[in-house]
Symmetry: C2
Subunit: 457 residues, 2 copies
C-alpha cells in the first residue's frame, strides 16, 4: 500500500513535469527512483508520455534507462526499446549485463535485432549471440555469463586479494572454485574465507559437493533446485562441467512467477505470453484457437442433447434442468483439476503416489454429488411437482460428479506421464466430458423413465 | 528429471531397507540426503513407512528430522509431528530456528501445541510465542528473529572481528547496522568491509537509504518488495524502527508460491490451504460451500430457461443449441478474467490504467464472437436447414461474448477497488452472468422471431 502510494505520487509529478516541460526537474526526480519503481511508473503512463520519459532517461542516464526497461519485462521492454534507432539501442544495450540485453534483443522485431547486434561492440554482441543460441527457457538462456571464479590453487589470502582487485564483480555470496581448465570443482563463501588464516589453501575449505545446473536444463527445473535447496545462486556448467555462468535467485523468482502465470493461463486457455496490455489483434489471434476447440466440443455436447430431442419435446422441463447437471459437473471437475495440476506443478503429486488421491477425489465427488443432488432434487420436486424428475436429477448429478472427479484426476496425471503439460489440455477435455456425461446421464435416465415423467405418459 | 530419478532411487532403497529392517543402513542413507529431498521421499512413502522413517531420524538426528519436516510444509509437517508425544516434539522443535518451529507448532492441534510450548526451554518457547502473536501472513509471523546486527560506532576492523567471533550467524550477505537502542540505521556488506581499510568507521561505508518491512506488513507485500528490488533479504522493524528480525529470499519464494497457489485456487473455487493430500472429509467440507453457491446460480440460470419453456416446447432445437451460447460465453469470460486477475496480482493493472484494457477486451470479445458466431451459424443452418436459427445463434453469441469480456474486466477491477480479492468472487459472478445472458439472449431472440422459426409458425 505504502509503496503504491509513493509510486502514485511520483507518477503525478512526472505527468506534471512533462506537461510544463521541466526537463531538468524531471530528470532529477527520475534519477532518485529505483528501476523497479520507474518501470511501474512507465507502465502507467500514456504511450506518448512513456516514450518521452524513456527518451529523456536514455539520453542522460543510459544505464538507469536500460535497467528500467529490463524491469518492464522482455515484451513491454522490447516494445519501448523498438521506438529507438538501431544505433541508439546498440549503445544502450551495452549498459546492462548481457543476459538482460539478450532477453530484450530477442524480443525486438527480427530485422532490428540483427541490426543492433551488428552495431554492438564485438565482445558484447558475441556474448549476447552466445546466450541466444541456447534454447528458450533453459539455464543457458537466462544465466549471467559473467561469473567470478577462484583458482583452486590459491590460498585464502590470495583469494581475498583477488576479490579486492575485481571491484566490479557483483555476486559474491558464493565463491566458485575452478581448476586450471575452468572445470567447476568447489564452492566456498566470503564468510568462510574470513574464519581461517590467510595461508590456508582454498582447496581445504571449499565444499566439493555442490549443486549446479547444466546449460540445457529447463528453467523450471533450475527454479525448483534453487527453491528446494534454498540457494541464493546456482552455477551453470557446460557438458564438460566447465563453469560458464551463474543464475541468481532474483532471476529464479522471475521464472517462478512466469511459470505460475503460465499454469494459471493454461487452465483457462490463454497463451502464456499474453498480458493485460497485449494489443487486441494479438489477443484475438491467441485466444481464437482455444475458443474454436471449445466450440467444436460444445457441438459435440449439443449432439448428445440432439439425441434426446424426442424426449425434450415431450417434457420441456428437462431443458430447464439439464444445464444444472452439466454445469455442476464442470465446477466440480475444475476444483479437482486445479488441485491435481497444482500438486503436479509443485512436485507433490507423482504417478506413483496418485492412487490414494484418485480414491479420495472419487469419494469427494460422490459425497458432494449426493448432498447437492438431494438439494437440487428437492427444488425440482417442489417447483415441478414431480418426485421422479427430482430423483433423476439427483442420480444424474451424482454420476456426473463422479465422472468429474475421476477424470479431473486421471487426465492431468495421464498427460503428465505422456510428457504433455497437464495444465495445457486438461480443462477442455474435462469440461467436454462433464457436459457430454451430464447431458447423457440426465436425458438418458429421463428417456428410460419417461412413463413416470410424461404428463400423458 | 535427473533429480526425480535420484529421489526415486532413494525411495526404492528406503522401502527395501525398511522391509528388511536394516536400520543402520537406512539411517546412513537418510543422513546423506538433503532435507528437501528427504521431504519428497517422505511424501511418497505410505503412512506407516513415513512414520517409521521419521521416528528413526527423530531419534538419531533430530536436526535433520526437523529440517525435513519443515520442508514438508506446515500442514503435512505438523501432521507428521503430531504422531509424537509433546515431550518429543518440544525437544525436536529446539533443533530448528524459531520461525520454522513457530510455523509447525501453529499447525498442531491446539492442546498439543500448548503442551509443547509449556515443555520447551523458556527462551525458545518465548520466541515462538512472540512470533505467533503476529497476525498470520504478516512479516512478523514469517521473520527469523535471530538477526545479526553491527553497532554503528564500530570500525570496519572491529566489525570483521565481531563476524569472526559470532560463528553461528547464518545470514551475512547483508550486514545491518543499528544504533545503541537497536534502531535500524543502515546496511553494508561483507564485501564492502573488505574493500576499505580496517580503521574506517562503519558509518562512513554504510548505506542509510535501505528498504525494510514493518512487522505488520502483509507477506505478499514483503514478497513484492524483495522481488522488485532484487533483494536477498529484508530487515523487519517494529513500529519504532527497531530491528526485530529478517526475512530471507528463500522464505519469500515460499510466499510467492503460496500466493500463486491461492490465486489459481480461488479462480477455481478451491480453498487456499487445500492440497492433493488433504483428507477427503476436509476436502468435501472445503469445496461444498463453493459448489452450493454454484448450484444456486445454476438454478438462477435455469429459471431464465424456464421463462422460455413455451418457446422450447415449439422448437426443441433451441434446447440443443442454447448450451453452446452459454458455454462459449463462459469460456471467453474465463480467458478475460484470468488475464485481468493475473495482471492485478502482478501489479501491472490498476484502476487508473484499466480503461484501455476494457476497450481492448470488449473489442476482442466482439471480434471472437463474430468469427465463432458465424461458424456456429453455418453449422446450425446446415444441420437444421434454418438460416434464421443460425442468425439468432450468431447474434446471441456476439452479445454474450461482449458481456463476457466487459464483465470479465469490470468485475475483478471493481472487487479490487472495493478491497476484495478479485480472484475470490470473480468466477462465480462471471459464469452466472454468461449463463443468464446466454440463455436470455438466445431464447429471447428466438421468441421474438418465432414466426420465422416455428415449423407451423
Amino acid at each position: 500500500m505504502a509503496a503504491q502510494r509513493r509510486i502514485d505520487l511520483v507518477l503525478d509529478s512526472v505527468r506534471r513535469l512533462l506537461r510544463i516541460g521541466a526537463t531538468a526537474n524531471l530528470l532529477n526526480l527520475l534519477q532518485k527512483q529505483h528501476p523497479a519503481d520507474l518501470a511501474q511508473v512507465l507502465g502507467e503512463l500514456a504511450d506518448r508520455d512513456r516514450q518521452a520519459t524513456f527518451s529523456l532517461l536514455a539520453d542522460r542516464n543510459g544505464r538507469l534507462a536500460m535497467e528500467t526497461v529490463s524491469e518492464l519485462g522482455p515484451e513491454s521492454g522490447a516494445a519501448l526499446l523498438a521506438t529507438k534507432s538501431a544505433e541508439e539501442i546498440a549503445r544502450l544495450a551495452q549498459e546492462i549485463p548481457s543476459d538482460d540485453a539478450a532477453a530484450l534483443i530477442d524480443h525486438l522485431p527480427e530485422e532490428l535485432s540483427a541490426a543492433v547486434l551488428e552495431l554492438m561492440r564485438p565482445k558484447q554482441s558475441g556474448e549476447v549471440e552466445n546466450l541466444l543460441e541456447y534454447d528458450e527457457q533453459t539455464a543457458g538462456r537466462i544465466m549471467n555469463p559473467h561469473v567470478f571464479a577462484l583458482d583452486e590453487d590459491l590460498t585464502v589470502g590470495e583469494a581475498i586479494t583477488e576479490l579486492q582487485t575485481n571491484r566490479d564483480v557483483e555476486m559474491v555470496f558464493y565463491l566458485y572454485v575452478v581448476d586450471e581448465r575452468r572445470h567447476l570443482v568447489g564452492v566456498t563463501s566470503l564468510r568462510r574465507l574470513l574464519l581461517v588464516s590467510p595461508e590456508t589453501p582454498l582447496k581445504r575449505i571449499m565444499t566439493t559437493d555442490l549443486i549446479s545446473a547444466r546449460v540445457d536444463m529447463d528453467q523450471e527445473e533450475v527454479a525448483r533446485q534453487v527453491a528446494s535447496y534454498n540457494l541464493l545462486a546456482i552455477p551453470v556448467v557446460d557438458e564438460e562441467n566447465k563453469l560458464v555462468g551463474v543464475i541468481t535467485v532474483d532471476d529464479v523468482i522471475d521464472v517462478i512467477k512466469e511459470e505460475a502465470t503460465e499454469d494459471i493461463y493454461r487452465l483457462a486457455g490463454v497463451a502464456g505470453d499474453e498480458r493485460a496490455f497485449t494489443p487486441a489483434g494479438e489477443s484475438i489471434r491467441k485466444r481464437l484457437p482455444w475458443l474454436g476447440v471449445n466450440l467444436a466440443t460444445a457441438f459435440l455436447a449439443a449432439s448428445v442433447v440432439a439425441l434426446f430431442e424426442g424426449t425434450i419435446e415431450r417434457i420441456t422441463a428437462l431443458a430447464v434442468f439439464m444445464p444444472i447437471v452439466a454445469g455442476m459437473g464442470g465446477n466440480a471437475a475444475t476444483q479437482t483439476l486445479t488441485v491435481i495440476v497444482r500438486g503436479i506443478a509443485l512436485g507433490e503429486l507423482t504417478w506413483s503416489n496418485s492412487r490414494k488421491t484418485l480414491v479420495k477425489e472419487a469419494a469427494v465427488g460422490v459425497s458432494n454429488g449426493v448432498v447437492l443432488g438431494l438439494v437440487a432434487a428437492a427444488v425440482a420436486w417442489s417447483t415441478r411437482g414431480s418426485p421422479v424428475l427430482g430423483l433423476i436429477l439427483c442420480a444424474a448429478m451424482i454420476i456426473n460428479m463422479f465422472v468429474a472427479a475421476t477424470a479431473g484426476t486421471l487426465v492431468p496425471l495421464g498427460l503428465r506421464a505422456a510428457n504433455v503439460d497437464p495444465a495445457l489440455a486438461s480443462s477442455v477435455f474435462i469440461t467436454t466430458l462433464t457436459d457430454v456425461f451430464g447431458f447423457f446421464s440426465f436425458l438418458g435416465l429421463a428417456t428410460l423413465f419417461m412413463r413416470y415423467l410424461a404428463p400423458g405418459g
